[in-house]
Amino acid sequence: MSVVIEQPRSPRSRKAANWEKYGWMYMRASGALLVILIFGHLFVNLWVGEGIKAIDFAFVGGKWSNPFWQVWDGLMLWLALIHGTNGMRTIVNDYTSKEGIRKALNIALWGICAVLVVLGTLVILTFDPCPANGIAANLPSFCPAR
């Protein structure tokens, strides 16, 4: 079955919640917050100090020992993944003509989004900067093993 397009200018049904509008507003609200979150992330990780050269386990361990960066990265994770997935949904809706394919792609997108949001959140919340299984030299300088 192909996609049914409504008559132009037909009034929208008021029975159901207008999810398309909430999605539209979410793209803008999350986008505005992501400007700060992502530029801050790039500045601290790629500009300050040695940039990409300095990124290793000890660097991440230092950041995520601080609740400030846990909240920063957690917010960025949720906002960016949902923003990107909803954007991809728009694109899938634009370019697919078969209803089954459209549905399958959108289910796959939201499935991947859910898995990564849960995984990322668990990693940030259960992270141990001084794990016992690590070689001491790879740990942050504040770990007792060093």
Binding site: G31, V35, G84
Partner: protein, 126 residues
């Protein structure tokens, strides 16, 4: 049928091409983000696993890819602000064309500042 699409914002010229670029950069950033969440999750496995994978981010080929990623993010983020202004600012539509070139200018300046510094780190020139 009017011969010129007068008064449209998303058909032809800057209005359309800015949207095409916004879409392409959005998809590129999305796929990078999927990989980036997975590679960062390795910190939960062991310091050695994480360090092994991020070391590939410091190689010349991936280092150059990061320049492309930063360029894509600069454009998508700044043009996203332009889209928000078109939608919510009273004069947004009137100035959409000027705003596009402001977006390009700011993105270009930020990129020109970032690229040499990043290349110095990637190619160990510092």
């Amino acid at each position: 049928m009017p011969t010129k699409p007068a008064g449209t914002l998303y058909r032809g010229k800057v209005g359309m091409w800015s949207w095409v670029l916004h879409r392409i950069t959005g998809v590129a950033i999305f796929f990078f983000l999927l990989v980036h969440v997975l590679d960062t999750s390795l910190v939960r496995l062991s310091p050695e696993a994480y360090n092994a994978v991020v070391s590939t981010y410091k190689t010349p080929v991936v280092g150059l890819g990061e320049l492309g990623l930063v360029a894509a993010i600069l454009y998508h983020a700044l043009n996203g602000v332009r889209v928000i202004l078109i939608d919510f600012w009273r004069k947004g539509v009137k100035y959409q064309n000027v705003m596009f070139w402001v977006v390009v200018a700011i993105a270009f300046i930020a990129f020109a500042g970032f690229a040499p510094r990043h290349l110095i780190h990637v190619f160990h020139l510092g």
